[in-house]
Each structure stands twice: as C-alpha cells, then as structure tokens.
Amino acid sequence: MKQISNFFLKSCLIVIFAFMIDGVCAKELPKVEGNTSFAPDVPSPITRNHPAYVVVHFECVELVKELDNGVKYHFWTFDGTSPGKMVRVKQGDTVEFNLHNHKDNKMPHNIDIHAVTGPGGGAAVTNTSPGRTSIFSFKALSPGIFIYHCATPPVPLHIANGMYGLVLVEPKKGLSKVDREYYIVQSEFYTDSTFGKKGMHNFSQEKALMEFPEYVVFNGRVGSLTDSNALIANVGDKVRLFVGNAGPNLISSFHIIGLIFDKVFMEGASLVNIDVQTTLIPAGGATMVEFVARVPGNFIIVDHAIFRAFNKGCVGILKIIGKDNPELFAEKK
C-alpha cells in the first residue's frame, strides 16, 4: 500500500513538474522576422518595447566578384556580399538563426556570432554541408555592436575570403535617435597578385601568414564608399556609424579626416568616450561612433595606418551637403 501511494505521489510530482516545464515554454515570445540590411544601410530601429523571438536567415554563397575595378576574387560570403547582412535585434530577444549553405558551394561553413553566449558563438552547432541548413537559437544578453564570421577550419581562410558582418543588439531602452546610420566593415584581402593588377586574384596563404595584405578595404571592395557610393549626410544631421573590423589580421585606426567623433562607444560596448579623433577597432571587434555633421564637404574615411588608405584601398567618403558655416571653417583669401 505504502509502495503504491509512493508511486502515486511520484507520478503526481512528475505530472506537476511537466506542467511547470510546459508553463515555461508556454510563455512564448511573439515571432518576428529578423530586421536586416546590406551595407552600407542599417536596419531601422526597433520600435517594440518587449522581447521577441527573432528569426534570421543567412545563406552562404561562394562566388566571383570584383574586389577592385577589373580585379576579380573568389569570395566566400554570407548572402552574396562581403560584408554580409547587418542584423538588428534587441537585448532580451531570442534569436533563431538559420544558416543555409548553398548546394553549389564546395565548402562547409558555420557561423560564430560574437553576440552569442554559447559554444563557438554558434559555430559548434552550425558546421553545415553544401545544400544543408543548420539552426540554433541564442538569447541576446548583452547590448552592443558585434562581429559575426564563419569559423569553419581553416578559420583564417573563411574570414580572409569575406565571411563576416555585424549584429547590433540594441539596449532595452533603444539607442538615441539620430538622422543617419551607416554600416561599415573593414577587412583585408591577401591575393597572389599585386594591388590594382587587372584579372583574377587568388588567395595567397603565404601573404596571409606574413600578415601582408594586398588590399585593405571598407565593405568588401575598393570604391564601395567613394564616388557615387559615398555616404551622404546633411549639415546638422546627427550621424551614427557602426564600424566593424573583420581583420583577419590588422587592427584598424579608424578616422574621418576633418571631423571629431562626438561620442565613441568604445569597442562597441557601453563605455562612452567623447571628442575622439581616431579610435582603435580590434580585429574581430566593432565600434559605434556618433557625430554631428557641422561643416559641408567631402570627409575622407580612413584607416589612419595611412599606407592602407593611400596604397591598399582603405578609403571611403562621407559627403556632407549644406550651407557653409564660416564661423567653424572658412578659407581665407
């Protein structure tokens, strides 16, 4: 008898426990499609004030694209572009990440998202064969701007060939309102040819090991932010840049010639520095800078390790349009 009642008691406990678990699962988050964009665009700010279950899809694509005018390179990418899409979520969101590897690819790929708390940043559970899909979820615990990259061995090669981008985790109360936001990733390319030489460039393992790139570029190619691709702002605009450095090797001395960053969210985190001329972005790191566009003109965006800007392609232009402000800047004849 005692045995039977014991059995009943245990069964009841199990049933109650099962309901409790169910209760936890039942507290379902609203499911939303991920807020993403291609560089240099930034996904729009998140307006909801509650966490959500955010579904994001990436597809790994291996393809030949231009690295410079007349210079072709065989890129490995997320979604056909280098950098891949920028993803915007909110602190407290649960992100379901779907990594598709296109069937015509030769390589397996995975993803290590620096916003993830978990093995490999997701890489441990996403090594995906061509034609397959891996899915994992993570909770966005910490706010900030984070790099993601492919981390399939040999890891340096997957990064060197173009597989990276940024994830923004907005703090719970959101970011302050600005007029313009842009998305930039700096990276290097190690090619077996020389800078600017027309034709196909292939990856050079020797140069990569020596950390001697032919190209250092913003947003995956020379000229991605110049001429008709220049970033635009109006005088008086508050501008925010999300800048990642994918490396794979170099540290970026990020600078815009002719203006001072009002605010730098150091290393993309919560600590704010003010009135900064040049900020460091570590390889595999990112930063967020804010400034007001005060004076019109072309402002040149560089890695101030200046040979990279002058000779290796690391140049962008921010075109500020509007009325002169002679009090701040004037040419004296």
Partner: protein, 262 residues
Amino acid sequence: MFFQKIIIIFFIFFIVCFDSFAKDKTDMVLIPSGSYIPLFKYGDDVLDDESIDVDSFYIDKYPVTNIDFYSFVKKKPEWDGNNFKLIFADRNYLNHWKNIDSFDEINNYPVVNVSWFAANEYCLYLGSRLPTLDEWEYVASSGKEFRVAKDDPSYLHNLLDWYINSQSRGVISIDKMTDNYWGVFGLHGVVWEWVSDFNSVILLNTDAEGGGLEEVLYCGATATNAVDPADYAAFMRFAFRNSLEADYTINTLGFRCVKNIK
C-alpha cells in the same frame, strides 16, 4: 568489302569489350604498407613521431564514375534514383542524372550525389569496401614526385588551388585527372570522397572534458593541436567530413573503393 566490314565490326567489338574490361575492379593500385602523419594527433594508434601505420591494400585507380554506378544501379534497382529509401539517402540522391540530355556526357565523370550508404553498398557489392580515413589520407599524402608530398614545397600551394581558385572548380572527367606517386588519379582537386569512418572525429568528441577534437573545429586555437597548421587543405577535408551525415548527398562528393590483400 564484306571482309573489311567484318574486321571493323570485330575491331569495334574488341574495343567495347576491352573498354568494359578496363572499367573492371581489377583496375586497382597496390598501396604498400607505410605510415603518414595525420592532421591531428588522436587515438591510440599514433606513434611517438605522430605518424600512423597503415597496412597495405588495393585502391581504385579512379573515383567511381557515373557509368560504374549506373551498372550497379541496374543490378541493384533498390538503389535506383526512383526506388531508394529516404533513410539511406536524401532527396538530392543522383539528382545530376535527371535533366541531362545524354548520359554519355557524364559517363566518365566521378559519380556524385551519393550517400555514404549507397557508396558503402556499391563497394560491398563489388567485394571491396570504402577506405578508412587513414587509408585515404595515407594515399593522398603523396604528391606526384614525392612519396611524402610535403617534401615538395609547391605541393600545398597547388592543392589549395582547387578549393579556392574558381577557375578550377567543378567535377572533371577521369581522363583529365592527374595521378600521384602511386598512380592513383584524382585524389585532390576533383571531388570530395567518402571514407568509411568519416564521422569518427565526432565519436571521439565524447571526450568533451579534455577539450579534444571538438574544440579544434571552431576555435581559433585550431592550430594548437594540429601537426601542421599550414596544411589548409587538410583542415578543409577535416571540416567537410565533420559536416556530413551518412544520408547526405552533395554535388561535389563522390567516392572510391579499396580491397584488402587476400
């Protein structure tokens, strides 16, 4: 005139016979026993100098071709693209046989889009088997001139070419393949190949406490366990095999068989 015709017919007949004879599984290469240095140190078989001993065996001179596999499927219709069981291969199985104008074009191309189960069954049907990872890597560790390819400085460079240079992408006919030191064709630069224990690395991961091989799959520390961290091609094969499951079929994944020495 009539006599000439007879001769021509005989001649064609002879070629056809000879051709099918050439495709026979006797077309294997004897690999003498020896050792090779694996990418990672693992298991109990690793000798003090980090090399692994491999017994002698026969290996297919070429990857199994579409026409080879077609003959197999004719004999074993349960492996036909219409009859196969989905637990043994995914829906992409032999997909490249559909939508082609003529089979002739791909006769001599390595068969791809075959699962491990199908490849394994094919080899068993012919009285052979899939190579082990160590057997495959042992044969593939030779270059053209050198028994140990790494003694040739240009070896790794050439090897990387297939993986990275888009010009050399794609499956090619066995006639266009190059052979290595042992006279085995197309080990590198054509297709990935199944091995019998492709997922042995995953099994080893049960030793999670020690960090083990699971770590090396995604950590930047990959290189710390590797015997030669510059051997990117080996890392790629390693990562590729790790991503597989036995029912997977892939556009660039084929196989060849080996046979024990009686």
